[in-house]
């Protein structure tokens, strides 16, 4: 009977397309918005995860997430180094500056300063230049997206000169970095260089990056640093989560995306549910004929379920395909970089669709099951 069910479905082309569009639209909306939401949250964690060698982040106890910086005293770096179990501890600068190009255009940039000698925390994937170029005087590295934003259309190349806080620096290399939460151009300098590029203040050290001895327990060392210095010392993983949670708790992003996602679910369920109900209602007499000539309720349920599964599969496929296309074609847009369709979201939507289609099937099939086949004798 499935072949008849599918012919019945395709026979009402307008509703068939409407149902597929409803499922595909809901799928696209949920996949796209869900992935962007997760992508945005991961951007909050990216700057933490980008620092590969450190196991612990030490900071002022008032720091709530990576973008919010409270300065430490220089002596705090030495105090951390003196804690038992610490293999090394290096300064890590993070701040915002204004960069001016040779055309006197100003652009806000994210300035990161890494340890002058070890370069711990510096980017690894350079598209132009070498990491050691960073140690040359008045040299910095810039991310490729930032370079393209400041010099649109120009090929990536070293040698460009910019001014940061009235100091001229040369872009010695270009790296491919993960996109931070705020999409400013990202500039890496040595810690010493970075301090020269920012206005003078009494304290400048935002973070201390720590690696523990090979046999030491990271959590115990973190606790020791907290006890000895009174500063916050947490693992990379914890700091990344702290940053994500800060975004979740202190911005309207979850509410905004949550609203869109909930609306997507409701609209998808309502469109699909009502259209499917209407489709079944319109074909009620035909179902009545089938019941009269001896098609059982189980076969009817099989037919309606088969129709729902077919709609769900086609709609889901189109929706996921469209979402994938969105992210593939969005790769060229800086604002959409690092966003991609997560398989977990795809599976979540599939499960959600199963529930929506079960609901639609239940609503539709109920009318058929209670239908008196004697209806076919009415002219």
């Amino acid at each position: 009977m499935l072949s008849i069910a599918f012919r019945m479905l395709a026979g009402d082309r307008l509703k068939y397309l409407g149902l597929i569009f409803g499922v595909a639209f809901a799928t696209l909306l949920l996949a796209q918005q869900g992935s962007i939401f997760v992508g945005l949250l991961s951007r909050a964690a990216n700057p933490v995860y980008d620092v590969l060698d450190a196991q612990l982040w030490v900071m002022d106890s008032r720091v709530k997430y990576i973008e919010e910086v409270e300065r430490l005293r220089d002596v705090d770096l030495l105090r951390v180094r003196s804690v038992h179990g610490v293999e090394w501890a290096v300064p890590y600068y993070r701040g915002v500056g204004i960069a001016r190009t040779e055309r006197d255009e100003a652009k806000q940039v994210l300035l990161l300063g890494v340890d002058d000698s070890s370069l711990v925390g510096a980017p690894r994937k350079l598209l132009v230049g070498n990491l050691q170029d960073l140690q040359s005087p008045d040299s910095v590295l810039m991310d490729s997206a930032g370079f393209s934003a400041i010099w649109p259309g120009e090929p990536l190349a070293a040698g460009k000169i910019i001014e940061i806080n009235d100091r001229r620096v040369r872009i010695a290399g270009i790296f491919e970095g993960s996109v931070p939460f705020a999409t400013f151009p990202v500039i890496y300098a040595t810690y010493g260089q970075a301090l020269e590029l920012v206005p003078p203040t009494r304290t400048k050290l935002p973070f201390v990056l720590v690696r523990v001895n090979q046999n030491a327990d990271v959590n115990k060392v973190a606790q020791a640093i907290r006890d000895r210095t009174g500063l916050t010392a947490i693992t990379t993983e914890d700091f990344a989560w702290r940053s994500v949670l800060y975004i979740l708790n202190n911005t309207g992003i979850p509410q905004s995306f949550g609203t869109v996602i909930i609306l997507g679910i409701i609209v998808g369920a309502v469109i699909v549910g009502l259209t499917f109900y209407q489709f079944v209602s319109d074909n009620l007499r035909q179902f009545g004929v089938l019941k009269a000539i001896g098609v059982s309720n189980i076969q009817i349920i099989g037919m309606v379920t088969g129709q729902a599964i077919l709609i769900g599969l086609i709609g889901y496929g189109l929706g996921i395909g469209a979402a994938t296309g969105f992210f593939i074609f969005g790769k060229g847009v800086v604002a959409l970089q690092d966003f991609y369709l997560l398989w977990q979201i795809s599976i979540g939507i599939a499960i959600l669709l199963v529930f929506i289609m079960i609901l639609a099937t239940a609503v539709g099939v109920r009318r058929v099951l209670v239908l008196d086949p004697a209806v076919v004798f009415k002219g």
């Binding site: 072949s3 008849i4 026979g11 089938l290 001896g294 098609v295 008196d372």
Partner: protein
């Protein structure tokens, strides 16, 4: 020919050719409490195989309710219905559905062809419901349509066919699974005189044989000459039962 597996048939020996279809003291009431209404009053009748019986009477007299009960679509409030040795009134709903699928063929006033299926596929629907694939059943239906000189129409959709052609397709649908009992509800009501006569000629030609009971509900007195027997109803009661001889003479059954 497509054979239906006898193991799937819960009623392999319907014995309708010996015993026909009978109703005993059938009463049907609709509604509850003060709005309860009796629409059939202790109906007793026996329909014999090889005969085409017409059930006639004014609108609302209970004809459709009676054929719905005889064909197991409705369950009477009281009384028994038997097709051959099979007592319909003691069956569960699932059994009734399977019984209808195997032993009863339906022809409806509005043809009730499925608009998205071709003529051959429409004719094949009952076989498909019995588990035969649509392609195989359509092939079987196509053969029968060819046999009835309707082979040219087998790939047409209902909207491309005239009313008479659609009704002839529905006759093939009702017959393809070789039912013991055919229930025809106003088969000519939506047709002009000539089309109605052609449909009845076909029905008489292919449906009536010694192993099959055929009942036709009709208002159309133009087709009375096709009847072997005419049962008249009024207000839920049988008020007349007569034989229709080939010369047009009628005698009490």
């Amino acid at each position: 020919m497509v054979a239906i597996d006898p193991k799937q048939d819960p009623f392999p020996n319907s014995t309708v050719e010996e015993l026909g279809v009978s109703a005993r003291d059938v009463v049907m009431e609709f509604g509850t409490g003060s709005i309860r209404q009796r629409v059939l009053h202790e109906i007793n009748l026996t329909l014999k195989p090889g005969e085409m019986t017409f059930l006639v009477g004014p609108s609302g007299c209970g004809k459709t309710t009676l054929i719905s009960i005889l064909s197991s679509i409705l369950t009477p409030t009281s009384g028994d219905v038997q097709i051959g040795k099979t007592k319909l009134t003691s069956m569960g709903n699932g059994q009734k559905v399977r019984f209808r699928r195997k032993h009863i063929g339906f022809i409806f006033q509005q043809y009730n062809l499925l608009p998205y299926l071709t003529a051959a596929e429409n004719a094949a629907v009952t076989l498909v419901a019995g588990g035969v694939s649509l392609a195989k059943a359509s092939q079987e239906a196509g053969e029968m349509l060819k046999h009835l000189d309707m082979g040219d129409h087998q790939n047409k959709f209902p909207a491309q066919l005239s009313g008479g052609q659609q009704q002839r397709i529905s006759i093939v649908r009702a017959l393809l699974h070789k039912p013991d009992f055919m229930v025809c509800d106003e088969p000519t009501a939506a047709l002009d005189k000539d089309s109605g006569h052609r449909v009845m000629e076909l029905l008489k030609q292919v449906a009536c044989d010694s192993k099959r009971v055929v009942i036709v509900v009709t208002h159309d007195n133009r087709i009375y000459p096709f009847a072997d027997r005419i049962i008249e109803m009024s207000d839920g009661r049988i008020v007349g039962d007569r034989r229709n001889s080939p010369d047009g003479q009628q005698e009490k059954a």
